[in-house]
Symmetry: C2
């Protein structure tokens, strides 16, 4: 029945003020107000409907995305939305589109790498969307290793132009979003060559298509790279390929803020510090961590609500079956993900502070915290995106068979999310960067150089190498100091152990390669420590709202005890814990599951997601799952006719045993 | 270039006879011959083309599958293929279709549960495909708990008929493959009610559609349940919904081999042992384990070949970059999956023996080994399908960005595989069944009842509770007796620990529920032990072919040391190992990676998969990846025109700043 809240009983169980928790999740009262208003604006506008997305063919899907993206822009202009509101609107439209790259990569690249003059020329065009740009970096044969790019930009002093060229097949630009069918311009990364000398990879603004009729300019081959994982998902986006056949651009279209080529073809560096690029990197990674918490929280919201709706087994005397959320096996898989969503939210919030801090220091020419900030953001990007991708798939499995239906929203959520594990740095490659930083830090211990920021704990290495866990009963695991010591000791010992093993190799690079799998594990331990410590820090703050802080304490406990149990091998192998203490942690974890259970629905309600944004029948706010699943099934194109297309050609001859005369 | 083998250098490195390994993988020379012949027959027939599958709309896709399935049947008849060959042909066509359910569920249900008379009536029709059947068990609100099904079959003694009815929305049949659009008949599971008494769930043969024009019969509502996860994948299948409005069928369409309803409406049990159903269950699960090894080996084959083709970083003096397969981080993720594929193959082979053994015992009315066989197959189904689903996704990630392209084959392989974690018993529910069996076994220790089969090790519980690992150097981990003791001690200790914790609860069921997450871990430990022991058993056999056995020893070592490292927490918590010994295991594991490296390509070649079956450009036998990726991209429907559909309606007004007049 419409209008009935099937989860009302669950909502009554909550032991905290949900509205206050919404503020905590959103980050501030202001952020909540904006998100709430914009998400409802999108949800109530039929033009943004998305429940048909997984049934559309590629061409229909792409055209529909063009329509939505342009319509969204029209609304943004009409409603005179602020930059913050516009960005929220695009977020709640929830459909990858060329605008993501235009606003998220093309504009920032010009702002970050262009001279003032270049910015004055190009940004007004981009801001009004009179040109649409993308970010053409990766190539068919070159992803992670930017220095291996093959596209060339050769300066021709006779004409004062660069000649952009794709010398090989593997140098074809490949993957850039918005490139395939939409972008009129691109920031193209290519090897700068002047006077026969290769100066490495630089960015160039290149026009790709006519602004009159959208046809590719001479010398340019451009197209879509084809279908990607999942229904709907990233197939709304025209990830593209691009080849240049000696395409000429004026010299002033090289992005020259950091390096320049003069009229004579001389290569020069400006006095703008190259480290500026790290500021952007911290910013981009911060948004990725926040996106991880959004994606994971969507999946958790769906799985939690459906786990309360769904009943299996346990019927007594013909009564209703047990809600699956009451099973410990379900709780032990679901609640750590709920806790992770909150944990990633708070670490994302902290990264916003870090970005401000780094930016201020860069402006004061203080580069001292950069290596730590770089390692920390690399590690957090890797940790949160991997956990989120796995977590979404786990949530899908937690919904049983129905999680496999597109109408559950989970298949598309997974497919659209997983690229985050690969883009902006492959997650394993990033962990190896963290590991390098850890090994360097260890090697500098005792030199008087004090580790700062998230690695400061290494300054207490002597204590951390020898301390032993003091836990005597399960509740001792609620002591945050105890927990911090445990995670610090584990991370420090794993790093030191790797450093010792490395020192056995004559060639350090060879050792690093040989031990890289262990180094990755040490990096993970370090990154988990950061997330745990930022969650614990959050709890030190004043958090208003009845019962809100208490719920966050429970979630924090679940987060770190879940990690402790999952990685108990690390804690035991480094001899910080004994098996008895590990078992007590597990007992405490189980006790916390019982505490979170009555609050579970309210804790996902606090995300404040509309049914439109969730895009899941299983995750409906009102819990009215089964009638809506039934209704949705009939909308499949296959149900347009009772007897399917193909019956007369293929099935009838089979059933009538007339196959010999059938044309197959 | 066509015809060039870009992996030739890799193939030359192999230290074993690949042809002999092909026999090992296939199971026998005969099996290899059949697989080789039939897979090539499919690959060379353009009618079975599948590289366009992910680009088709739902209706096109479904119609195309109808065509292929019927064409496959035509070829089977024309070529007079044997049952084995026909089944292989359907396997290599590699597209879920109604025929899977017709042959795999409908026919076996009638054979297993029908009387001789019923078999004589229905099987000839089914064998000739004059009727097409499916298996209608699960309902919208009822999956795992078969006893909770709501559909009723009420006997009407006046007319000698059953009245099949769907009393609620949640009783709608939901998910059965082949039901939505194709099947003319179904085996329907419904609660049998005679004279007001509910006799529980039984099977009934029900005609759904007219054999004349395929329209649903009166009282029957049938349709497709809509889009499922992934492009192509299971969307080729018409998983269906079905509702009955008092549909009448003759009494003789209840499957009456085990229970009967007489003309007078009396409910009777025959003397056919109910345990017979377990024989079928062992058979079905055995095929699922073999399928797991097939799916995982496909993913591993793709990821291994592409890891040899792909180069990233490490270029020295402008030379080529390093093949990614040479990175230890890549090896430590890829090679355990390669080893797992072989491990699952051998445990699947052993399950074939178990099925024969169980069948023979059942025929002799010996039910003594059934509980053990039931627990063992439940656990192996769960273990192998979970590891395979995760493993496919890991292989996809191991291919970097390009693994996200449908042309890599991996997205579809994942999407089509994951349901195996849910169907035929949810994987967690199955592990809890294993745990129940383990707890029962522990409780019976000392009663004189000797544990048999895969649980026999529990008979040595005293030794296993107190023994300590003898490993002193890394190579000691190559000693299979040592390894068996380690895995047995871990499994036994985890079970005993659970049993002790359970005994603290006054109500055992409550304790089982509370500790279920721990019980699942104990069950996993037991199941991993089974897989390890069957791999080690395999190595005791005579295995011909130069170097073949040696390679299998290396893979076996990788399999168990990978598990040992991944679960070192279990081994350390149960105090069988000390941290030093765990570290030595890791050292040995790393050494084995180096040994398998030169043989990696040959080890995946031994699967003998055609490029058609693999369906992956990244996994091409000849390694000619990049030109073929480039070629494939142009086939996307979006590339049919240079300027995309929607440019004039949406983009041009945007670029020309004429949005105000645009119709969006």
């Amino acid at each position: 029945m419409e209008g009935v809240d099937y989860l009302a009983e669950e909502r009554k169980k909550a032991e905290f003020d949900v509205e206050s928790m919404k503020v905590v999740w959103a980050g501030s009262q202001h952020a909540l107000e904006v998100s709430d208003r914009i998400s409802k604006l999108v949800a109530n506008d039929p033009a943004f409907r998305k429940d048909d997305r997984t049934m559309l063919s590629r061409k229909e899907l792409f055209k529909n995305t063009l329509r939505k993206a342009v319509y969204a822009w029209k609304r943004i202009v009409e409603l005179r939305l602020s930059e913050e509101e516009a960005s929220r609107l695009r977020f709640y439209v929830d459909e990858p589109a060329f605008t993501d790259l235009h606003w998220g990569m093309f504009v920032p690249a010009i702002k970050g790498q262009g001279t003032d003059e270049q910015q004055q020329k190009w940004l007004p065009l981009a801001y009004k969307m009179q040109i649409i740009g993308c970010y053409a970096q990766t190539e068919l044969g070159h992803g992670s290793n930017v220095q291996g790019l093959e596209t060339t930009a050769t300066f021709d002093p006779r004409t004062d132009e660069f000649v952009i060229h794709s010398p090989t097949l593997t140098s074809s630009k490949w993957w850039p979003g918005g490139l395939g069918k939409v972008s009129t311009h691109a920031v193209v990364y290519a090897r700068l060559i002047t006077d026969g000398k290769d100066h490495g990879v630089h960015g160039f603004i290149v026009q790709l298509r006519s602004l009159e009729d959208h046809t590719p300019l001479p010398g340019i081959t451009v197209g879509d790279i084809g279908m990607k994982f999942g229904n709907g998902a990233y197939n709304t986006m025209d990830n593209g390929l691009l080849r240049f056949d000696h395409v000429r651009i004026p010299r002033n279209q090289m992005l020259m803020r950091v390096s320049q080529v003069t009229r004579e073809g001389k290569y020069k560096q400006s006095n703008v510090p190259r480290q500026l690029v790290y500021g952007t990197m911290v910013y981009v990674r911060q948004t990725i961590v926040v996106d991880a918490s959004s994606a994971l929280s969507k999946a958790v919201c769906i799985a939690t609500r459906y786990s309360a709706v769904r009943r299996q087994f346990g019927s007594q005397n013909g009564g209703p079956e047990t809600q699956v959320i009451d099973y410990k096996t379900q709780q032990s898989r679901l609640f750590p993900l709920l806790a992770s969503a909150y944990a990633f939210r708070f670490v994302g919030e902290w990264l916003k502070w870090l970005y401000t801090d780094v930016t201020q220091r860069l402006q004061a020419n203080d580069f001292s915290t950069l290596p730590e900030a770089h390692a920390c953001t690399a590690g957090l990007k890797s940790l949160t995106t991997s956990a989120t991708a796995d977590g979404i798939e786990e949530c899908r499995k937690l919904c049983g068979g129905h999680g496999y239906l597109c109408s559950s929203g989970l298949p598309e959520l997974f497919a659209v999310y997983v690229p985050a594990c690969t883009y902006e740095g492959d997650n394993i490659v990033l962990l190896l960067q963290v590991a390098r930083f850890l090994m360097k830090t260890v090697s500098q211990l005792g030199t008087g150089k004090q580790p700062v920021g998230t690695i400061a704990y290494m300054g207490r290495i002597e204590h951390l190498m020898q301390c032993r866990c003091n836990v005597k009963q399960a509740e001792d695991w609620l002591n945050c100091d105890q927990v911090m010591e445990a995670f610090e000791a584990r991370a420090a010992r794993m790093s030191v152990s790797c450093a010792r093993n490395l020192s056995k190799y004559a060639n350090p690079e060879e050792g690093f390669a040989e031990l890289s799998a262990d180094l990755v594990e040490a990096a993970v331990a370090h990154c988990q420590l950061i997330v745990v410590s930022k969650f614990i820090d959050k709890l030190q703050q004043d958090i208003p709202g009845e019962g809100v802080k208490r719920q966050l304490e429970v979630l924090c406990g679940i987060y770190y005890l879940y990690l402790l149990h999952k990685h108990q091998g690390d804690f035991l192998a480094t001899s910080y814990l004994n098996p008895k203490q590990a078992a007590l942690a597990n007992d405490q974890l189980r006790a916390l599951y019982s505490q979170v259970r009555p609050n579970a629905i309210a804790l996902v309600d606090a995300f404040n997601y509309t049914d439109h944004f969730l895009g899941s029948i299983l995750g409906r706010y009102d819990g009215n799952v089964y009638p809506k699943l039934y209704e949705a099934a009939w909308k499949d194109p296959l149900n347009e006719t009772v007897v399917p297309d193909g019956y007369n050609e293929y099935m009838r001859p089979l059933l009538k045993q007339q196959l010999h005369s059938a044309r197959l």
